[in-house]
Subunit: 232 residues, 2 copies
DNA sequence: TCGCGTTCTCGCCTCACGATCGATAACGTC
DNA sequence: GACGTTATCGATCGTGAGGCGAGAACGCGA
């Protein structure tokens, strides 16, 4: 155990914005505080950094108390918050993370923990509200120029399902036709060979796809000022 | 003063990758360590976080020891490094920053401090080499979809000069024609009304431009999966 | 003053890519 | 087997980036 003076002095916390598409909406994992400060307010999962771990190790350790960490398909560091007054009781830095859980799974969570849609949030503890909105912006940006979709989509899916995932995450309608062409041209998707129905009624069965790679990759060099086209 | 146990326990540092285009090359501000560990190695400017300041305030305070901070046109937080072994002498977290100095000015620096081209670096202390390369990647990305060029370019410039700035920062040739069209279409540049010569000999004088805004702005919504075009 | 080299500026063309729409394919259901 | 439903694909359009070359605007020297 660390003694109290060390714990107070080191005071570095990790916080996760864990996001998942649930019921067609982008939702975040929050838990309700029991004690002061901010008793009864909702907060991001997290906790104190220990002496011998990296920030990411610490984040996974604390997340494990709330969800099955194996369900988290992507974890990435965001901003480190440092306002001396962000925690009223004591000076504390906090490094935020973005965690993504694929759609479809429903990890068991403790009694004090619940999913909340990002477009209908309660008031949050500390600066967690800002962190959450920042995490959503990061997600939206990276969905467009990386293969990050793999972390939100189920292991395999029809294009209609994938369209709904992207649409919920981005917050605006997305054309399925276009989504297919873009992701196929970038070679992000491959057909599994199976087919399945989307809705209840009949109709042509959709071919199922999966993401080829499940690690983050940059897939779109930014348009402007690209190096001279070297056509092979 | 903080006592030793607190200083050891809190051990959070800030580090800046300060970049500028000098002699047509992207260069970083480094200082040469006098003491162990890593004596005689080159290192990023920075220092310890104090108890009552934010990370950015701390970063500006420490930077002031190396350069005139008023010359730093942009300062933005990067990754927080947390490997327990990154500092061999003691556990220390470090939050990295990206700082940009406009081309043209030559801030006075202390005797132990010098500019080094990023494509010809010495071996650096700690993990500062990785930080520096990460900072360059961030810069290159943001140059393409924001107005960040303002922080590297002089207050006013010809298009040929601006092309050289972008070319040095991006590491590949950039067409002046195209650069003009892109930046004008995005309304990032405006003509100052003056004209000036670029090289030594004669030639048509170039019109001078400046950036309209000197705060970071996103200027290019990512291409993919854009919301439906709402033509006004 | 008149050419001449130099540098910048602008317009035209091409190409790649996103967006949209309509036609066709592949099912369930009655 | 006809019909509604859903998925898929191709054709087309618009837009923006890249490339090239003609002309514009200078300095300089004969």
């Amino acid at each position: 155990m660390v003694d109290d003076s060390q714990a107070r002095a080191s005071a570095h916390a990790v916080l996760a914005a864990v996001l998942q598409i649930r019921q067609g909406r982008l939702q975040a994992l929050l838990w309700q505080r029991a004690r002061e400060p901010f008793a009864a307010r909702w907060a991001l999962p997290g906790g104190a950094l220990a002496a011998d771990e990296t920030l990411e190790e610490s984040m996974r350790r604390h997340l494990a108390e709330k969800v099955d960490v194996r369900e988290v398909a992507h974890l990435e560091q965001l901003e480190t918050r440092s306002d001396p007054r962000r925690n009223p009781s004591r000076r504390e830095l906090a490094t935020a993370f973005l965690g993504l859980v694929p759609s479809g799974v429903d990890p068991g969570v403790p009694a004090d923990t619940r999913w909340h849609p990002l477009d209908d949030l309660p008031e949050l503890a500390y600066d967690h509200g800002e962190i959450l909105l920042g995490a959503r912006e990061r997600l939206r940006g990276k969905l467009s120029y990386t293969n990050l979709g793999f972390a939100l989509a189920p292991p395999s899916f029809t294009l209609a399902e994938l369209r709904d995932v992207y649409s919920a995450a981005l917050g605006h309608p997305v054309g399925a036709t276009n989504l297919q062409r873009v992701l196929l041209r970038r070679r992000l998707l491959e057909a599994t060979g199976e087919r399945r129905h989307y809705g209840s009624g009949g109709g042509r069965p959709a071919t199922m796809y999966r993401f080829r790679r499940t690690r983050l990759e940059i897939t779109d060099q930014f348009a402007v000022l690209r190096p001279p086209t070297m056509t092979s």
